[in-house]
Structures are given as C-alpha cells and as structure tokens.
Subunit: 522 residues, 2 copies
C-alpha cells in the first residue's frame, strides 16, 4: 500500500491502472474546449518539507509507537498532506501543499492510538487520522499544517467473525478490498463498494458515512455498522451491544460521520452478508431523466429492490462517460442484481421497468458499467493530463424536491463556469423517501482553475441548500463543505457538535477545522 | 382523550376496555399463587395536591398559553404524575404519588413550547414533556416533583403529506390511532403498532425510540423518522433534509431516544407506506424455543421477511398468555404478512418454516393474536385487581448472545422472586444481526411488591448487562434504567450526553434525572 500511495502521487491511482481517455472525449476536448496539456506534475521528492517537530515531541511519539513508525521524511509527509479532490491534485501537481504534516505516525493498535492522542493533547499538537487518503472534501487538510498524521495502516486485521450473528470486527485501517478478501474466506462480504473502493479503508467509511454503488441492496455503511471502538483524548468509548436499542440516543450515529473530529475510530463491528451466489447487471433506456427517476422511485418504494440502481441523465448517457453509453438518446439506467434468486428478481424488476416506459438494452451495458465501475477518477487523471478540469459534487433530497434540486444545481454551475463546460449527472443511491444526485463537471483549466472551481462549487452549494438538499450524500463535510453544513444544521446544531467535541477533545487537537470551524474566541 | 385518561386512572386503559382474566389463569392464581384481591384503588379525586407554583410563575405560563391551558387542579396533576409501569400503578392505587407536577401546561404550537421552555429556564422550573403518558420506565417522573408537565395534546395535527416522497409531517401530540386515521385518508399508514398504540403519541415514539409489533416489515420508529423539529431552551433545531446524508453525524439520531432531556420534539417527518391491501396472520409451532429462534433468524437474515414475527417460549405458549396458545406443547410463532402480494410471501415463508421444523397451525392462532394484540396491559389490570403482580422487561442482543441472555435473565429473576413465580418470554423484533427478548413476570403481591420487584428488576438488569444485552430494546431509559444505561454506554458516553444536555439546556430544567443523572457538584 505504501508503494502504491507513492506511485499515486498527484493522481487518483497508480499509473499502471491509468485509463486513456476515449477518443471521442479526447477529440471533444481539443476541438470544443481547446485545451492544451499542462506542465508535468512536480516530482514527489521535489516537495520541500523542513523539519518542524520539537525533539521532545518526536521522542514522546517514538516512545509510544517506536521510532521506526514516526516518519518525518518529506515525501511521506507530502503524501499525507491532502486527499484526492481536484484542487488537492492541483496543489500536488504544483508541488505546493498548503498544510503539510510534521510527521506521519503509525500506531500498532488501539492502545497506541490512545497514547498518541494523549501525547498530542499534552503537546497541543493537532492530529489528523488517515486511512485511505481518498477524501475529496478537504477532510485531511487542517488549515494550518504542522500537525501529525495518524496513519492507521497498521490496524489492518479482521479481528473476529460471528457467523451466527453475521457480524465481523474489522480494524479501521483495513483497505476495503483486503477486508472483503478476509471476509470471503469465511463466506461473507461487506457489499460496500464505493468508487473509492480500491484505496479506501473501513475506518474512513465509518468516519465519513460512506455509501457504496450497491447501496440499494446492501445499504449505506451507516446501516452496516453495529458497533465501534473509538479512541479519544479522554479515553475509549465503545458502542453497540445489539442491532437496535432504545437505550438513549444511538451513540454509534454520533461517531459515524464525525470525520476524526471527535475521536479516532479504531475498529468497527459490521453486519456482513453471504457472498452473492449470482450477479447480473443490465442496462435499460428511458426516454428522459424524469421518466428514469420515476422508475427508480417506483422500485425504491414498491420493489423489487435491485442491488445496484444507477440512472444517468441525458448528458451523462450521451457522453458514455464511463464507456458504456449508446448513441441513441434517452437515459441509461444500470440495474444490478446480486444474491440467491437473481433471475426471478431480474424478471420482476423488468416487468416494472417496462411498465414505467423502460426499454431493455440487455446485460451488455450493465456488464460494461460493472467492468468500469472504478474508472471515473482515473479518467479524471487523464483529463488533467490533457488540460481539462474535472470535479464532482453530490447531494440528496426527498423525491419531491429532486427535480428542482437537479435544475438549481445545473443552473448554478453553468452560471459560474465558462463556456464551454459540461455538467453530467446521475442518481446512484435510492431510498423510499428520496435519492442522491451526483454531478460531474468538465471544463478547461483557464487561468485560475482552482479559484474558478471554488466559485462554481460555492454557487452549487448555495443552490443545494436553497433547494432543500443536503450538502453531501456520501463525500462528507471536511473543510470544503463546512460553511454550508453549518447552514444545513443551523447554529444550534453546530453548537451541539462543538459541545461534543469540547467534551471529548478538550485541547482541540483532533482534526481541527474539520466538520465545525473552531469556535471564535469569546 | 382527557376523559379517557381520567377513566384510566391507576390502570392501563379505561374500564370499558378491561379484559377479564382467562378462567384457567384465575384458577391458577387462586390455587398456586394463593392470591387474594387487594383493597380497591384510591380514588383520583382523593389525591392531595396542595398548590405549589408562585403566582408570578403561573402568570408567566398563562401569558404564553392562556390561563385556561395552565391546569393546577389536583386530579389533572395526579393524572400526569407518572406513567404506566406496575410500580407506577401501585403508587396510583395507593394514592401516593412521589413526584406530583405543580401544573399541567398545554401549549398550542411549537412557538408556545419554545416560550414555555423559556419561562421554565428563567424560573429554574423543571419541565416534563408528556404525550400519551404510557412510559413504563419512569420517564415522566423526575425525582423531586414540583415541576410542570408540558402536555402536548394540542399539537395534534397532520401538518403535511408528500405523496411523492411518501413522507408526512405529524405533530408530536398526535395519538397513534388518530395519526393513522388522518394518514389513511391519504391512502397511507405508519405501520407502527406497539402495544401502547391505543394511547401513545408520535412524539413519544420518537423520544423513546419505539418499536412496533410489525417492526420486521415496517422497521422501528427510528427508521421511519426522516426529520424533526425540536424546541429547546436555546431555541429551535430542525433536522432532516434528505433520507440519507454524509453531512456530519446524523443529528436526528441524537434526538431520537433523548426522552425530553435535550428538548421537546414538536413535530416529526415520517416515512409512510401505502395502506396494506392484504393481511394474513398465521400460527406455527416449533418443537422448542431454540428451534423457533433459529427459524426467526433464518427469515431475518435470508428472507422472506414477514411483517410480524413473534415467537413465544414454552411457558408463554403454554399459558397462552394473550389467549391464543394451544395445549399441545412446543413454541408458538406468530407470522404476519401485510402488503400487496401476501399469498406469495406467505407461501415462501411457509417453505422456510417447514424446513426449519415448524408445523403450520393455520391462520386461527395468528388472527387470535391480532385480535388480542393490545390485551396484555389490560390483563395486567385484571391481575392487579386479583392480587397478582405482573410486570415486563425487555432487551436485545446479537443472535449469538441471545441464548445466554435468555438463560441469564430467567435465572436472575427466579433467584430474586418468591416461589411460585412465572417468567414468560417472547422474541418480537428481529434484525439481520440479532433480536429482542421480552419477559413477563407474574408473582403474588407479598408484603412489599414494589420493593421486591425493584430487587428482581435490578438483578435482571445486572444479568442483561453482564450477558451483553442492551438495557432496553423499546421501553427506553427513563429513571429506572438509568444506572444500567450508564454502564452500557460507559462514563465517557454519559459525559457526551451530559455535554449535549448542558449545551441545549444550560439551566438543567428539561426532564431532570431522565437518561443521565444530574452531574454531581464538583
């Protein structure tokens, strides 16, 4: 994993996984967007990172985890300085990292995490938990730098499997593919497959309330977590003695989504499912996005419920953004079934989709989607190499608010972006009462791509809040969504979160500036 | 409702709904338990309740809600002094109420609730939110008395229905049957049918994390709530812009289960479902409780998932506690199906149950159960009238912990109760990873029935915590479970809840002593 991270410097993934741009897209970029390839990214080893931590602090950290697990090398610090948002990649490509950690500390277990937090509290040293490093919302980038990164990579064990209860205890630093590999040996799977799957970790899924591509069938990560162990500067907190309880507020839900601001999740107990015996992915065409949304709603509310349900709007379908589109108009709905009686559920689903005006495209577009399900962020690398800026944003709302939200976000983006720009959208997570919307924006670099994007993103965020959506369905808050999150939960909601943080982290060292802004001095 | 409450003084329900004891039970009580009918309950109007509130406080409250909605009559205060646990009924029957409110205040709307809370904070006057008054865990009984009861009965509107999103906004004081009646006019139902259904309110369901008899099909009330408005002494907090979000911790889950200690829930936005087109309730016999639990687990984990799933242990089955048992041994499993394709799901379920060793008893035992689904607490009234003490307690755990938990609680109860006593149990809420256990205890009054019960309950609670169960699956914490709840969440969990309370309720007036003990003076 460490070599992989090094190879993935200033990109999403490692070069051997790189995806070339489809020729049509490359042509479009040159002809319509008139992009030109930018300068090559700065080399990782060129990033300057002068020593920062006092010797006694370093010694205290080394006393906990061993000197070999306190890394102050410039490259290691640069690799942990930020996540994988497009602005992050721009900073990395420029070799300019706004918030460089002073050291990367890798504890071996929960007790070492507790002890590292104690050192940080005593030294008033900010500490940023780090799993897969895939945040796209500035979740790893406190505003100041000079902090330590708490790299959870050594907490990588499957601790226990309970086949009767169908639960497993997974350590926070386990990468998702490794977790599934370990579970598969027991006949189980998580069924949690977000686009970040190849790199993200179990702890990160919990800390950010992740949702995977198969959320219609397996639920959100929220729904999978039945217990957690959290290390805080005040000690250990464990939650989850039963699947459900009326013993007070569900404290699991206070740490799900806490993004390292309340504590460090060191292990989670998750509900697991038997490995799917069969899988079937299909494509369906709907005359319009509105028709497709109506069909998705019908399935979400009345069933049958597929495992995967993903509807591209007209533009995304046309561009075949991930290689699976067709040139004959309408909107593509990918429908995936996994489980024991796939054929029957697929047949029942097909009846409903036909009733809703859908036309079957067979399994090929579905299998294409499945084969390329992790490609989009690699394509972003290729776009960046070609000189095109690509970024995503997402939200969710109740069904009745969805059409207005869709229009409002598109309008806000187009108003703030130069001509030509492209805005693609899909629905990929459905619930009985609503769904998510996921937007992809492609535009030329221009002179100040990051600043221009920040203006467009701010306009889109304003539109989301005004149209009644949530500021994030599965990316999280981090620093980038913080101001809009404050609008979403209101000043009293922010005060409550601050009160929790103050109680668990009196010194304010845990991922400062994430989730809530530091309280202004009275 | 107010007349109904008056008629239900010192009992669960009104006398016209009273259920006579089955003859077999009445005979058993006389012959085995040797009970004798106790003295008749004290009359409501005999309860002494001297005036307590200062004139300026009363005036301030009257200024908010109108003098006619501030009731200081003794009977009204007595009716709001406690809930419906058996110890509560004993106090009521004795005419001795440990914590009598000084007034019952009935605001008209959210703004009046806010204003009442402001008066209470300014006057350092404790305030106990009151919905249906059905708490069985001391949730309405702060330790001191002299508080005001905030009766939510006037917040009784269906505010809005969104048929596209399948959500509805319900005010907190709506009794459940009235909510369903209002929703039925739009073709919808909540599907939330706890045993307290006839009296409980929407706000109470949310504040206590209620779970209904049809939770296998409709989910817990937790799962239904997609939004909430909460009045606190610091102002209003609204949550829920989407079915799901990754925008920080889910604040809805902080108020679900907050039991009036953090604020007063004034309305909830709930997911609703179409009225069930068909219903079918069946009975199945399993050779043993262990076999029945295995079958319930199989359905919960692999489906098909019935709407109702309720398994009585051997003793509960034998006693036919609610009139539906049969004398031929084993354990009764009630399986209910509601929805559009009941016959098919029933047939598929039957295949699984037969494979698991179940024997179909046809629909009669199921229909019997459905016809008597609310009877148990009325039977408790009849038992009390006959001189027998009856009380319930419940827990939940992961499947693998369930057998040990079942044995441990039974052992603890039998060790603490006199001979003869009866302990009945059923599983009535199932999840993929675990299930609930609901125990019913019947014993003779003895000299000090309440004190003896408190010792037995404490022993059972200790056993629950030691065996890994949660201290309550759907009754809540109140005052009665508070010490064990503190063990369940640990000192840091308690500190977090206290921090939230301190932030929202700096004067500490909201339902004091509920959920967490007041912090000892430093």
């Amino acid at each position: 994993m460490r070599e992989e991270r090094r190879a993935g410097w200033a990109r999403w993934g490692t070069p051997e996984h790189a995806k070339p741009l489809p020729e049509a897209v490359a042509g479009l970029l040159k002809q319509v967007f008139e992009v030109t390839p930018p300068a090559a990214p700065a080399a990782l080893d060129a990033v300057a990172a002068p020593a920062e931590l006092a010797a006694d602090t370093l010694a205290a950290l080394a006393a906990v985890v061993g000197a070999e697990h306190v890394d102050t090398a410039a490259a290691e610090r640069a690799l942990h300085a930020s996540g994988k948002s497009t602005p992050d990649l721009f900073h990395q490509r420029a070799g300019e990292l706004p918030a460089l950690p002073a050291a990367v500390v890798a504890p071996a277990d929960h007790d070492q995490v507790l002890a590292v937090l104690a050192v940080c509290a005593a030294h008033r040293l900010a500490v940023v938990p780090f799993g897969g490093g895939t945040s796209v919302v500035g979740g790893l980038s406190p505003e100041t730098g000079g902090h330590i990164t708490l790299d959870l990579r050594r907490l990588d064990r499957l601790v226990a499997v309970d086949p009767v209860s169908r639960t497993a205890v997974l350590q926070a630093g386990l990468p998702a593919p490794r977790a599934d590999e370990l579970l598969a040996a027991h006949g189980f799977t998580l069924g949690h497959v977000p686009q970040s799957y190849e790199y993200a970790t179990i702890g990160g899924f919990a800390a950010t309330r992740s949702s995977g591509q198969a959320s219609a069938g397996y639920g959100r990560f929220d729904d999978m977590v039945v217990g957690m162990t959290v290390a805080t500067p005040r000690g250990t907190l464990t939650t989850g003695r039963a699947p459900a309880s009326s013993a007070g507020p569900d404290l699991r839900r206070l740490f799900l989504g806490s993004e390292g601001a309340f504590g460090v999740i060191t292990d989670v107990t998750v509900r697991v499912r038997p490995l799917a015996a069969q899988r079937r992915y299909e494509g369906w065409r709907f005359p319009s996005f509105v028709d497709g949304v109506a069909a998705a709603r019908r399935l979400a509310q009345d069933g049958p419920r597929p495992t995967v349900l993903r509807l591209s709007d007209e533009v995304e379908t046309m561009l075949g953004a991930t290689g699976r589109g067709r040139g004959d108009g309408g909107c593509l709905l990918v429908v995936g079934h996994e489980g024991a009686s796939v054929d029957r559920v697929a047949a029942e689903t097909a009846d409903v989709l036909r009733e809703c005006g859908g036309e079957s495209l067979g399994t090929e577009p579905g299998e294409q989607w499945a084969a390329h399900r992790f490609d989009a962020p690699y394509l972003r690398d290729a776009l960046l190499d070609a000189g095109a800026f690509a970024e995503t944003l997402e939200t969710a709302a109740f069904w009745s608010a969805l059409p207005g939200l869709y229009e409002a976000v598109r309008e806000a983006l187009f108003a703030a972006l130069p001509v030509p720009s492209m805005v693609l959208c899909h629905v990929s997570h459905v619930y009985e009462t609503g769904a998510s919307l996921y937007f992809t924006v492609v535009t030329a670099f221009g002179d100040e791509p990051v600043a221009r994007w920040q203006r467009a993103k701010a306009a889109a965020n304003d539109a989301i809040i005004a149209a009644g959506g949530t500021i994030s369905h599965h990316h999280g808050v981090g620093t980038e969504h913080r101001d809009w999150f404050a609008q979403e939960v209101g000043p009293l909601g922010v005060d409550v979160l601050r009160a929790v943080k103050r109680e668990l982290d009196p010194a304010g060292v845990l991922n400062p500036g994430i989730l809530v802004a530091p309280r202004p001095a009275p």
